[in-house]
Symmetry: none
Subunit: 589 residues, 2 copies
């Protein structure tokens, strides 16, 4: 951590980079206006006040540091090229001049290619990375473009465009003159319309300078789903809500290949479109930390995207199994806070985030302006549905802030979203038929007594085989820790459920009209090697409930203590009965 | 977050408090020397430079804020009392004077009681909280103290003592004059020697001012084990390495009761001794964030002890189920970084922490001095044994830094420490007779394959009934999570063990020479209501091992992943056999 870092731009990304740098002992000098967010939390260095587009200020920053990086790609790459290739002149105390070497990461070439969206897409296409078909627009040949790409197509500014600014959808040739007028004075390109099903994003860390290894020296974070509103990122879901793990793997591979094609080191945000046929294409790439990676601050608490950026540019990034940095929680959701109609419109949202035990608030220390990104909220869930339940009331308030800002009617009722999520069930209880319910009832009542939340359903191995398999296969990811299954006769249910889940399954043999339950018992207990069922006595749902409680109690002292108390009470009852029997004699007992 | 916070002390605790405050938009004014750690990362306010023991500086700080808090208890409580009870005088721009109300949290009364260790212990004892027996020392009546408390006893400075400073162990009456000389000039008290088995700690958040509700308005973090060396905290294990969940629950209850007895709001660090007989006593309490809670930064990523401190003093702390803030990972271990012989002695340790994917480095921005706390490292594991393996090489380097600092020979070889710490057994396996061992062997081999540590023994229900009961009754407190018991014939062992433990017990019926194992099966499975045994198929120790793994895996993602892989391999084997059968035909198969 000896190398001094210079950062062009001191907004929220620079601020969160400094938050990651401070505990590592890494020192960052920031070039941006005095009091900018990054400078507010970093008083360890003498920053440079000024614009990150001013070549002389960039040189002034370079003189103080060993390595330059960016939090924004809209910078002057010619001065970065000059500094990277020829160094920067410094004057010693005695007036003698010399040239100091300064590294630029990621490479100025990468920043230059990426900041021009047409060059970026051309670069990706040449590298064999699928992206939207793009055409340079020379003069006003848009009629030809329309014939080539079809309508609608998107007319876009090649540079300095973000959050939907500099884009114009051309629905038919009648729109052409309006589009050219709206984007007058800008260098333009046209992009074929992508009718995507949803948007995904992958943060990728590049750890080597060269581009020859097809992305091998890259590491990918988990895939996320991004939801945009008014052309601005609103929500990020990690993992995506409805995308198979195979498509997620493909998205990571594509993102790694795309980032691997750019020279230099650092973290990159890769936005992807998932098309209706399942195909993935790259939308665009940011050569820096990215809004779609903010969830990693809590979701990967030992390796956020900001720490990765620092370690990558310093050449200190460790390697990860399978070149992936896994999310450390089952589900994380991020919601951006955009400025409302007034300076205080967002206060209610802030207060709700503070009051959420599993929520983290990040305010950037920026003045609130309508629609400006001034903070974000991250919630952690033990399942995606829990995380969605946690974020729902916050989204409702964010929607109200937007409605007020845009003068729209409030479409969502806050009250309906504020109903607290029910206690997350830990035990899933199922039975082959509702005729088994009377046997299960005492066990269910005992779970209630022991304050263990459970969910009850019916899944027949023979009448609803697919439903049973789906139930078993999804139980672990839904947050269940134990399954209780009751069945009678040719009692296949407990064993079949055990075959489709890694969770412990407790089997309750139900006594049928013949064989006194021996058929059920042997069907449940005599499972083949490899698939165990924890079998209890015939019709003994009390013991199934107690076994579930013992399993949970092995990792939960409160539950284990309730079990000890239960056993003590049970013992006292026996002692009480013994005393009475001894007292009154067996004849009168 | 409108209320301005003033902080007495700007060391590492203040720094981490500011790290938590920055993203919440909370503003903290710090009173300490210029450039102190907290000020290095907080340029949002105009801090006060000076000493946090200077009454005039404290008043100057109070004039700028709405609420005062502390990162250290060795402050002037008389000026805090003055400010809390009578406010602070402010002068307006026009020269007019007025009195401004400022809240002090936690209460100056609490800080005053706690900063005098004798008053603190006296307060706890009066409140019914067990703590070491203490006696005020008046004059030099130490002979009488020795007769009362017995030797050895500890002579301690009542105030300004921390990290072992101000303590003198008096082993016999011959030590008395040396002890009095060593602690000359200090107000003293004597404490009965506590021969503890290990040290625990609990961070507790107090959310209401009053003390009348017996700790109900408190919230406890998970219990941790602290390991001290040279009287300084070295390591923190969350959860403790060898403490039953029931003792952990008792520790939380005791810590909440203790903190509940002090007026005011905030976070408190409660140090406990676990005595050999299982009794818990409070050692001492800190009215502020504490070294034993640093693990919460990563271990509770949405609610660290520092965020809790802020929310509690601001009256914004949310409530938590069961009044506990659970650790969000199965295991977290923290290692302090102490300054070595030279300014750079600790660099190797820093670099190793940076290179650990599951490690987080926290450097405080303090000059390194020999033995000074200058940073800490936290590692996250999917199990305690994994976390221990991750921290082991870092401990070895910390040991080398200490050996060099103290001029000791290097006693530990780094290479030897790199072998993972002996895994703590999670599964206890027992059998009624060694003749059952051949049946258990495949299951034991599978536990080894699944990397699940276990302990095997023999306990006969009929030949060693007391040994069996002792084994069962102590299993939970020894840290076992599951018991596997195998028996044949009148197979009472699994059920009798289940009758003396709250842990889940898995029964393996062993097939005897008659009845094909049906005798064993029914003896094990047909337990009465109240005492469950998780019964598997006759002779099927493989399924017993897998069931144990499923039970552990419900709370341990690494184990659950191995089970999923095991099931996939098992499936592939069947598919392979099917292909061969279809290929060669059933006659040649």
């Amino acid at each position: 951590m000896e190398r001094r870092i210079g950062l062009l731009g001191g907004g929220q990304l620079g601020q969160m980079l400094c938050e990651a740098a401070n505990p590592l002992g890494a020192k960052i000098w920031v070039l941006d206006a005095a009091g900018s967010p990054a400078k507010q939390i970093n008083a360890r260095t003498s920053h440079v006040d000024g614009s990150f587009t001013d070549p002389e200020k960039i040189r002034e920053l370079a003189r103080q540091v060993d390595i330059l990086t960016v939090e924004i790609e809209h910078v002057d790459t010619h001065v970065l090229e000059e500094i990277a290739e020829r160094g920067v002149q410094v004057t010693a105390a005695d007036g003698s001049k010399s040239v100091k070497t300064v590294e630029v990461q990621p490479s100025w070439k990468t920043i230059r290619t990426i900041q021009d969206k047409y060059l970026q897409k051309d670069h990706l296409t040449r590298g064999g990375v699928k992206t939207a078909v793009s055409m340079a627009v020379e003069g006003s040949n848009l009629e030809a473009v329309g014939r080539e790409l079809g309508y609608p197509f998107m007319l876009k500014s090649r540079k300095d465009a973000y959050d939907g600014r500099g884009n114009y959808p051309v629905k038919s040739s009648a729109d052409i003159s309006d589009a050219l007028e709206a984007l007058a004075g800008k260098s333009l390109y046209a992009e074929k319309w992508a009718n995507f099903r949803l948007e995904l994003a992958v943060m990728v860390v590049k750890t080597e300078n060269d581009t020859s290894d097809c992305g091998k020296s890259t590491i990918a974070y988990s895939v996320v789903e991004t939801v945009h509103e008014d052309s601005v990122c609103k929500l990020v879901y990690a993992p995506p809500r409805d995308v198979s793990v195979i498509v997620q793997q493909e998205a990571q591979d594509l993102a790694r290949k795309a980032v691997g094609s750019f020279p230099g080191k650092g973290v990159f945000g890769v936005e992807l479109f998932l098309l209706p046929d399942g195909e993935l294409i790259v939308n665009e790439i940011a050569p820096r930390p990215h809004n779609s990676g903010h969830w990693t601050i809590e979701g990967c608490p030992t390796m956020s995207q900001f720490k990765s950026q620092l370690l990558a540019i310093l050449g200190l990034m460790p390697s990860f199994p399978n070149s992936t940095i896994p999310a450390m929680f089952p589900a994380t959701v991020m919601l951006n806070i955009l400025g409302g109609k007034t300076q205080t419109s967002h206060n209610k949202l802030m207060n709700m985030a503070i009051a959420a035990p599993a929520g983290a608030l990040h305010m950037y220390g920026k003045d609130s302006k309508p629609g400006r990104k001034i903070g974000h909220i991250t919630v952690i869930g033990s399942s995606l549905s829990e995380a969605e339940a946690l974020i729902a009331p916050l989204i409702a308030v964010a929607d109200d802030i937007r409605a007020e800002r845009k003068g729209l009617p409030r479409t969502t009722s806050i009250l309906s979203s504020l109903v607290p999520a029910a206690a997350r069930p830990l035990v899933a209880v199922t039975m082959g038929s509702d005729s088994d319910l009377p046997v299960l009832k005492p066990g269910l009542a005992l779970l209630t007594t022991l304050a263990i939340p459970y969910h009850v359903t019916i899944t027949s191995a023979h009448r609803t085989p697919q439903r049973m398999t789906d139930f078993a296969a999804s139980a672990a990811s839904k947050g269940f820790k134990v399954i209780i299954a009751a069945a009678g006769g040719a009692a296949h249910l407990p064993g079949m459920i055990a075959a489709s889940t890694p969770l412990p399954v407790i089997g309750v043999p139900v006594k049928g009209s013949t064989l006194d339950g021996m058929d059920s018992l042997l069907s449940i207990v005599q499972m083949p090697r490899g698939v165990p069922v924890a079998t209890v006595a015939i019709n003994n749902s009390i013991n199934a409930a107690l076994l579930a409680a013992r399993i949970l109690g092995a990792h939960d002292g409160a539950i284990q203590r309730r079990l000890v108390e239960y056993a003590a009470t049970m013992g006292e009852e026996v002692v009480g009965k013994a005393a009475r029997l001894e007292d009154v004699g067996f004849e009168k007992y």
